[in-house]
């Protein structure tokens, strides 16, 4: 038995279809990606996380592309292939070049190394921070 099966539009409840419709309308696409089809196994999580993503990932004080690159950074740090591939794809469509991706990953690597050294030497926070 697989961990989960995708819920396709044709077999979805009206509650799930309403979310799928909103995703497709918001993003001007004809079908939702695997993420939403699988999360749809738990309709309250589908609705809640879609509404959170729509609110959080759209342009606000920060540009949408910057947010997508932060999502890529966190997914690389967490080692999550799905999140990484999906949001790298979105960021590329919004203009992220390969050089920009290279810099995102370079920062994640340098930051993780610095975090470990700060832990390893138990460095006290400076008084003026």
């Amino acid at each position: 038995m697989p961990q989960s099966k995708p819920v396709n539009y044709s077999e979805a409840s009206s509650e799930v279809r309403a979310v799928f419709d909103d995703i497709m309308a918001t993003r001007s696409i004809n079908d939702v990606n695997n993420y939403w089809k699988h999360i749809a196994n738990h309709p309250p999580t589908l609705k809640r996380t879609w509404e959170a993503a729509k609110e959080v990932m759209s342009t606000g004080a920060l540009d949408s592309l910057v947010k997508e690159m932060i999502f890529v950074a966190v997914s690389a740090s967490n080692g999550c292939e799905y999140g990484l591939r999906c949001h790298t794809d979105t960021a590329r469509k919004q203009g992220m070049t390969e050089e920009m991706l290279g810099e995102v990953l370079a920062v994640v690597g340098v930051a993780s190394q610095a975090n470990i050294l700060a832990n390893g030497y138990q460095i006290p926070v400076d008084d003026d921070y």
Copy 2:
């Protein structure tokens, strides 16, 4: 015995002083912060990580402020207080508002939750990524 003691300029070797001098000149400051004083217990790591930070964190294809915010995001994700406090301070000095910080952390939270759901439902990567 503490995990590590800071190496102050007055007691530092010429090798360590050369790095401290470069940090102070590059950043126009009069003293290095605790991070570099503690990392100086292992001079090759001090030199290597300073040169990496100088190269990676400066403006390139991405703006320095975007890089600082990615550093904040990774440090929040890793739960590293030192990295978080230090780079939040730097990002604020470069213009990050509290609303921008709020959006950075909101993205990290949403991305981590999405990574966990992608793992938990074992969602296959879409063919068109």
Copy 3:
């Protein structure tokens, strides 16, 4: 060369067979799963971790099913496919429905997001905890 090869019963030492026999008897199964076959490459680890699992995962102050769901939660958080798939399977056999799995994963997602925000805002522990 693969990272490790499975140790099958027919080729196992008497020390390994004794553990395999106890696993099969305890769980009323005819063969051990891949986990134990691969861990058997280091017999002391096989014996030690089997005895720990047998002690910790059986019903005590907490019901075995609750423990299996906590195991699923930790494996999703760590992004470990093997642990996730194996213990989701066990929990389903003990009565976990898809709705219960959905709630387990929803809690893990919400908790991880809350942990990151607690880190990101450096929230002090309340006096009355």
Copy 4:
């Protein structure tokens, strides 16, 4: 400058007060804890995460106490003191004994160790999962 300052009711906007009022009414308490006061620096995150917590942590297919213990498990795994202390406190108020806490943490430890061994030996998922 601290990472964040708490937003107290007396100085909060009406948007923030509405969320604080709902938290206090839902939980029958006279003041919100530090978590919500600090998250209130970003009102959309306050509103979104409170509504998510209210939905996800209440009794559904799983009992509220089981959910609180999963939250404790995830926070211990992530090393987040705030989440751990806060939800241990809530779980105790809902009836978690010290023996139950001991079993929760024992499961987290055993699961993490098993996840690492599954990674370390690169154990393939069994065909019948």
Copy 5:
């Protein structure tokens, strides 16, 4: 209420005292450290993890000092202050110099950075591994 209180020898059950006695005899010390006193709140975990530590951390195919340095590496990677401080102390008593500690932490930093880049670029495993 604190997360846990230490269990001191004078107030410990005979089951806990037996473990404390074995720790003190094995290590030639007059009192156990805080770790064991707090873990003693759950006696089965005390007994099980002490026996695991005694078996795993003693010299085998690998020298005890190498094992202590791996423990330091893992604790730095996990950001666990207690594990880091405790096992740095033990490793120093077994001969780890500050230069050796510097090299341990340098390897952890480089490895974590490499892990993130391997994730971030989704690098396929070479055929000849």
Copy 6:
């Protein structure tokens, strides 16, 4: 579109070729492994991380084999298959036996479990560390 494509020697820039040449000369091999070919998509990261690896992983106060085993330990802890497989291969070529690998992974498992218990019980650092 894949996350990244390998950069082969025949199509590499002179900057990338210079690094590939140094890797092949240092390790007496005829081709670089997939890691370097993919990292080469961002030439500054290729150069910087190769120089870091060359400096950090060679024998110093610690033997190269000990460093390789720490790299294996960190990769198992992070769940990074590439890092794990690559450095297990290198460590085996330098003399790591299957029993030694078993002990490395056993220490990582025990350390991670101990880190979680130290977090979960919020154990204070002993005064004499």
